[in-house]
Structure formats: C-alpha cells, structure tokens
Symmetry: C2
Subunit: 372 residues, 2 copies
Amino acid sequence: MRVMVLGGDGFCGWPTSLYLSDRGHEVTIIDNLSRRKIDVELEVESLTPIRPVSERIHVWEEVSGHAIGFVNLDLATEYDRLVAVLEEIRPEAIVHFAEQRAAPYSMRNTHTKRYTVDNNVRATHNLLTALVATGIDASLVHLGTMGVYGYGWSGSAPIPEGYLTVKVPTPDGKNDGLRITDLHQGIVWGTQTDQTGRDERLINRFDYDGDYGTVLNRFLMQAAIGHPLTVHGTGGQTRAFIHIRDTVRCIEIAINNPPVSGDKPRVLNQMTEVHRVLDLAKMVADAMQADIAYLPNPRREAEENDLNVRNDQFLALGLKPTTLSEGLLEEGRQVAARYRDRADPSKIVCRSVWRAGMETAEDLVTELPAQA
Amino acid sequence: MRVMVLGGDGFCGWPTSLYLSDRGHEVTIIDNLSRRKIDVELEVESLTPIRPVSERIHVWEEVSGHAIGFVNLDLATEYDRLVAVLEEIRPEAIVHFAEQRAAPYSMRNTHTKRYTVDNNVRATHNLLTALVATGIDASLVHLGTMGVYGYGWSGSAPIPEGYLTVKVPTPDGKNDGLRITDLHQGIVWGTQTDQTGRDERLINRFDYDGDYGTVLNRFLMQAAIGHPLTVHGTGGQTRAFIHIRDTVRCIEIAINNPPVSGDKPRVLNQMTEVHRVLDLAKMVADAMQADIAYLPNPRREAEENDLNVRNDQFLALGLKPTTLSEGLLEEGRQVAARYRDRADPSKIVCRSVWRAGMETAEDLVTELPAQA
C-alpha cells in the first residue's frame, strides 16, 4: 500500500514508518523537522543520539533493502505544495502524526500556545481540504490522545469506541465522505522496535525533558542516571499506556482495516493497560533502587481519578498487547544507562505551568552521579 | 461598562454596538471590514445601502451624543496590535462576533474553507491568549450557532443550556479562569432596531444572496420583489429563530450577568421561537401573495427534523421575546420594498454546495418585475 506518514521523523512517526516499510508498504515521510527544531529552542536533545533524517532513511535502505521517500513540507503553511505532493504520490493511506503533541509545551508561553493551535488546526484542516480538492480517496488515520476525553472517566460505562457522531462547525471530513480513523492513544512508553533496533543509526528518539518526556520513560531514565523519580502531586493520576511496539502494530491494523464508508469518523482507543502513576513509580523504584520525589503539580488536574477504558476493537482486529510485565522495562533501563552521559539534569523538571503563578520545583540534581 | 465589540460593523455587531452605546456603555468596535470585502469578492451588496463605518459612527454621535471608538484590526493575524489595543482600552466586557458565520460561504471553495477555519480558530484563540497574557479580566461573550449541536434534537430532553463541561485539547479559557458565555444563536431575522432606525445612514445591512442571506429575511425580500420564495428540499427543516431586536437585548443581558467564576464556560440558547421552514414560506406567501419554488437542497442535511430547544435562562434574566406574530414581518416587507431596485436576482440562488457534484438551481428570475 502507498502510505504517507505525516510527522514521520518523530517519536511515534519514525518507528511507524520503518515498521510499515518492513511490512512491504511504500512509505513516504512528510515532515518539517519541527520536533528537532523545538529541541533547539528548548536547548535539549533526545537522550538517544538520533541521526539526520536523510541518514536514517539511507541506513534503513541499506539494512532492509526498502526505500522510504521524504518530503520536507510544512502542512500548516504550504497548502499548494501539499496538493502537489498528494497528486504525485496518490497515497492509499495517510497516517497523521504531525500535530504538536506535548501539553506542557503548549502551555509554555504565548508563542507556544499560538503555535500549537495554529499548527494543529491548520495542518489537519489543510489535509482534509486537500483530500477533497484532489479527490484522492486515501483512508486517513489521525492520532489523538486519550486526554481529549478528560480523565476521571469511571464507573460502569467505559470510554466509548466505534463510529461516533462528531459535530464540527466547519467543512469537515464527514461531509465529504472521507474515511477517517481517529486513534485516541494512551501514553507511549518504550523506545525501540524490531526495526529501529537493527542499527544504532536507526535509533528512536527518547525524550526526558519536562515538556516532552512522558511519565514511564522519564522514571526509567531517572532511575538509570541516579535521579529521584519525579511524581507530580500525589501520583494518584490514572492513565492509559501503550508500548511503542504496539503503537506501530495498531497503525498497520488501522490502515489495513479502513472504515468502509465515510459517513462517520471511526474512533479506536489505542492503549493496552491502565496504571496509577504512583504505582508505576513504586514499581520502577523497587526494581531499580531509586528514590521517589513528590513535586508540585504544574497541571490543573484532579489529584486522583479512575479511568475505565476499553480496547476491544484493536483486540478484535488482532492486537496482541505488549505489557509492562513482559520485561520491556529492562530495555528502557538499558537505553537510559547507555546514554546517561548525554542527559542534562537541569532539563528534567517541568517548567511549563498550566496557569500563571503555579509552583514548579527546583532542580533536584544539578550534576549526575558517577556511573554506578 | 467599557465594551469591545469584535465584528462590530456586521449584521449583528452594528446594531449591538448602537444598542449598547445607547444604553450608556462605552463601546469600541474592532473590525477588519472583512464582511464588506466578502461582498466585493461575491460581487453582491447589502440590499440596504450601508454607509462606511466611520460615517456610521459619526452619524451615531450626531443623533445620540454618544461616541463609539473604532479600530481596524485583523484578530487572526495581528496579535501584537490586539494586545496593545486591549491594554489601552482595558475592556470590562468583550462581545465576539468576528467569526465568518455563513456555512454556505465556508463550503464555496478551497480558499473559503481554509479562510473560515483559519480566521475563526485563530481570531478566537488569539483573543483568549491575549486576555491571559495581559491579565485583563473582561467577561467574554462569544457568538455561536444552534447548528453546532446538529439539528434533529427532539424528544423529551431539550438542547442543554447552563454550565457545560467543554473539553478542548489545547490552552483554553477554562484553564485560565476566563469568564466566558457562549451564546448559541438561532437564525436572526429582521433588519432594524430602535437605534439603526434613527437615521437612514445608520441602517443595518440586509443580506439576500445565496451565501449570506438567511431564510426568513430571504422570503420577505423575495416576496417584496416578486421573486418566488425559494425552499430547499421539502422545507421540512425545523430551525430556531430570533429577531435582531432580541439579539441586541440578549447581548446586554449576557454582559450584565457575567459568569461569576471562570471554572466552566456558560452556554445560553439565544433564540425565541422554533418554526418549520415550509410553514414560514407559506405564512409569507399567504400574507404577501407570493409563489413558492422548491429547489434542490445544496446542503447535506436531513429533509425533516424536530427541534426541542429551550431559552429558559434568557427568559429568567428578563428577555421579553419579539415574535413573528407581532407585525414585524411588515418592517421586513417595507425595507425590501423600499430598496428593491438594488436587488440583483442572479445572486439569490445559492451556488455553494456541500459536496462536489450536488445540484443547484437555475436562476428563477433574471429581471425584476416592474414595481407593483
């Protein structure tokens, strides 16, 4: 299948591109390298040493024999080029990872607030408009987050999946019969997949900074470098999780099983398990002899919540979940230990707050302890 | 109260600005004149001869003794100027009419689709961001449409009002405690208010073209110029309506009764009665001896629907509704008759379709009949 992966250079997009390529799909990555540029802006780097995108793609062709295309294109501002690229590639499926995904970054300042809304809304709307204008009948898989429901969904009725009637006030995919799958994804953990592990130059990014680092990977990295595990608030937040290996499988399942009609967008919950943040911290602390530090919570959110969410649809479509119990924590520990010298402890604590005047913590460690 | 009216030169914004000014508020209009420029693009004009904004404002000061400020500013693209204007005026209330409101225009072509989404999302988000950045604690009244619910809301549970939990995935008013009222407005009919009627140079705009003309005013104008009343589909669509005189009263009620806290946006249904389109056509046809023409429906929508919607909150806050039975149809008829020679019959039928290939009608009248 001809597949375009929008945002295919990022944390989820890169392993997805390689997985789909490995499975025989013709992959073209569309990416404006905005994630790498935000690293420049935040003065932080992936803990793992990621290579330039053209080198990555070249190495992948070397080790796999599969070519991947790449177009540097800003979806939000280059509408005419987007139309031209769509007409040239004529994709059968499009996977859209090209939204700015970090909530803390979106709250950082006026610029990042406006950038996030402008980029995400315009990129997605330009894509929908271009599909209608070109008449290209690709199925579209859009990545969202469980967070759009709000947390605190509990009791007997789980967070819904299936064909939902979603009403938007402006020209939308539904009106034009586009076949759209919206994946509401849990927090992604893990780093490597079978494909990114084939050569060190294919390594996936690993974010540990306060804006882009996500909770379980952050704990693993903190334990590996001798930093206390940072729990915000009481740690009573309950969240859905998925391993990066399952993310890439879910994406292929979604493009192999597109909605038949474009009458309603399909929503699938892309997650495999649910945990309380404090329980995760205790598990990692026990396994790796780390301390836990309780920090002020920079987010306006409930201290404790339940979460009732199902992934029946992906299970029915054949997903075999990778769970925390399967020893993959060890992979995270190894990655973090191997690249610990690249870590900057001053970037670990989140400095973006949800509301002016909210408290953040001091740095807990200013210099890394010597290698254990 | 110091009030900024965003979009204060438009069909709802202008009479609202005059009404608030007449009631003793200090009004500043913020408008980029986009509505007038769209008229240029569509090669159509308001049936009523509206005057340039600075002349309107000058005449208003002459007849009322009240000054109204005006700033020509594009909310979507001039963020820094918006911040400066907010800091200078320090409004206590902001009324936001500055979204492109016509669904047919938004479906017209690729440019108008992208313009509508870009303008509406960016204007509103820039405003929210600027309020947070400046710390100005104005209450914000945002105009939306009943259409966002979708039509077909029927049975025993009416369309909700009150404090709703609305979840958006990005920095929002709720997080920052902004006091927001979202008015879900019915279709506005009528032209003049007590204020716009005081001098012909204050006259409100009257849209009759296929993109911006709305159903009841269109019928009145069609009957007045001897054009058949154009019903799309079966006319079984049931819609909520409000007279422009009630719109302006509702706005003042909303700014005089802001939400006390910013925990949740408040939603009020701004409408006074519900009618089936065909019933309106028959009423106007009977009263004014006009014919009815059934045209293909350019919208993808249900042919028939019920609508159960309440306006208890505005009634409780003191609104005395102006209803169709009160002879105000006569005012519409008079306006249309007086300016009939300004009408261009080729602009009456809607040419924007919801989906490529959908049918529109031929012009029904190519030349106006002689004055009756």
